[in-house]
Symmetry: C2
Subunit: 155 residues, 2 copies
DNA sequence: AAAATTAATAGAATATTTTTCTGTTAATTT
DNA sequence: AAATTAACAGAAAAATATTCTATTAATTTT
C-alpha cells in the first residue's frame, strides 16, 4: 500500500494545508462543510498514513540573503553502486544543497544550490563540492529569475 | 531593507521551524533557552518582516501518486519581454509545474514537473505545455531517484 | 435482504496552546 | 548619566486542538 486512496474532501484538505497549514480546524471545517472533529480526524489519518510528511515554515530566500540559486549538473567518472552512494551521502551532508536528483540523460545528477552570491558559490564549488571523489565534471546553470515555486501537488 | 539581520537565536528558530513548524512555543523555548513570550515575539517579528513567508504541509509524492518527476529544459523562439512574460504566465497556471526558473546557458527555462507516470507526462507535454506559444524546443530529463530534498536554508 | 460491524461524523467537554497583559531588565540613544 | 527603546519573563486570558460520547452512514457478514 504505497499509495493512499483520497476522496474529494481529503484532496481539498491537502490542497488547503499545502497552501497554509496554520489554518484552524474551524476555518477548514467551514471550507469543507464538515465539523471540526471530522476535519481533525481526517488530518490525523493523513498524518498517520504518511500522506502528510510534515509541516514546515517557508523562509524568504531574499531576506536571509540566500537568493543566489544554481543548478549544477554533475557527471561521475564511473557508475558503480558504491561510488554512487558515496557521492550521494557526501552531497546530502552539504547544507547549501537543497535538492539532489539522480537523473537520466547526458549527466548523472542535478543539484539545486542556494547561497549568498557568486563568491559564495565559487567557494562552495572549490572547497566543498569538487572535493568529493569521482566527479568527472560539473556544469553550473544560474537562476536569472524565479517564475514559479510551489509546494502544492494538485489533484 | 531587502535583507533582515538575524542573530543566533533567530537562526536557530528558523532552522527549527523550517524542519517542523508544528513545534509548540514551549518546545522551542526549551531549545533556545528563552521564555515562551520571547519565542512568540521573535516568531511574530520574523513573520511581519517577511522572513517567514508562510507555513505549509509537506505531502508525500509517492503516496499521492505524483512521483514521476521531470526536469524540462525549454528554449523560446525569441526573447522579447512580452513573449517571456506571456510564457511565464502560461506556465505558472499549470498545476503540474511545481517550479519554473529563467536561467542562464543553452536554454531559457528549467521546469520541474510532477505527475503520475510517463503517460500522464506525455499528455501534459502534448496537451498543455507545447500548446504554449513560441516554444522553440523542450528537452525532458527524468528523475531516477531523489537523493535529497530539503526546505532548510542553513546559516 | 437483514443483522452486525465498522467507519465517519457532530456537538459538547476538556486539555493544550497561543496570545495578550503587566512589569522588569538590558541595550541603545540622546 | 538620563532617557528611550527593545527584549524578555511570568501570569492571565483567549483561542484552538483534542478527547469523549453519541449518532448516523456505510460496509460486511450471515
Amino acid at each position: 500500500m504505497e499509495t493512499v486512496k483520497l476522496d474529494t474532501l481529503d484532496q481539498k484538505l491537502l490542497t488547503a494545508l499545502q497552501t497554509d497549514c496554520r489554518q484552524t480546524t474551524k476555518m477548514l471545517s467551514l471550507k469543507l462543510n464538515l465539523s471540526t472533529t471530522a476535519v481533525h480526524e481526517r488530518i490525523k489519518k493523513l498524518e498517520k498514513s504518511g500522506v502528510i510528511a510534515g509541516y514546515v515554515a517557508i523562509v524568504d530566500q531574499v531576506r536571509v540573503d540566500k537568493n543566489f540559486v544554481v543548478f549544477c549538473h554533475i557527471k561521475l567518472q564511473q557508475h558503480k553502486q558504491a561510488l554512487l552512494t558515496g557521492f550521494e551521502q557526501a552531497v546530502s551532508l552539504l547544507p547549501e544543497v537543497l535538492e539532489c536528483y539522480h537523473v537520466s540523460g547526458d549527466y548523472d545528477y542535478i543539484l539545486k544550490i542556494a547561497v549568498r552570491d557568486m563568491e559564495a558559490y565559487r567557494k562552495f564549488l572549490v572547497e566543498k563540492l569538487t572535493t568529493i571523489d569521482y566527479i568527472a565534471s560539473t556544469h553550473s546553470i544560474f537562476k536569472i529569475n524565479e517564475v514559479k515555486r510551489s509546494h502544492v501537488l494538485a489533484f
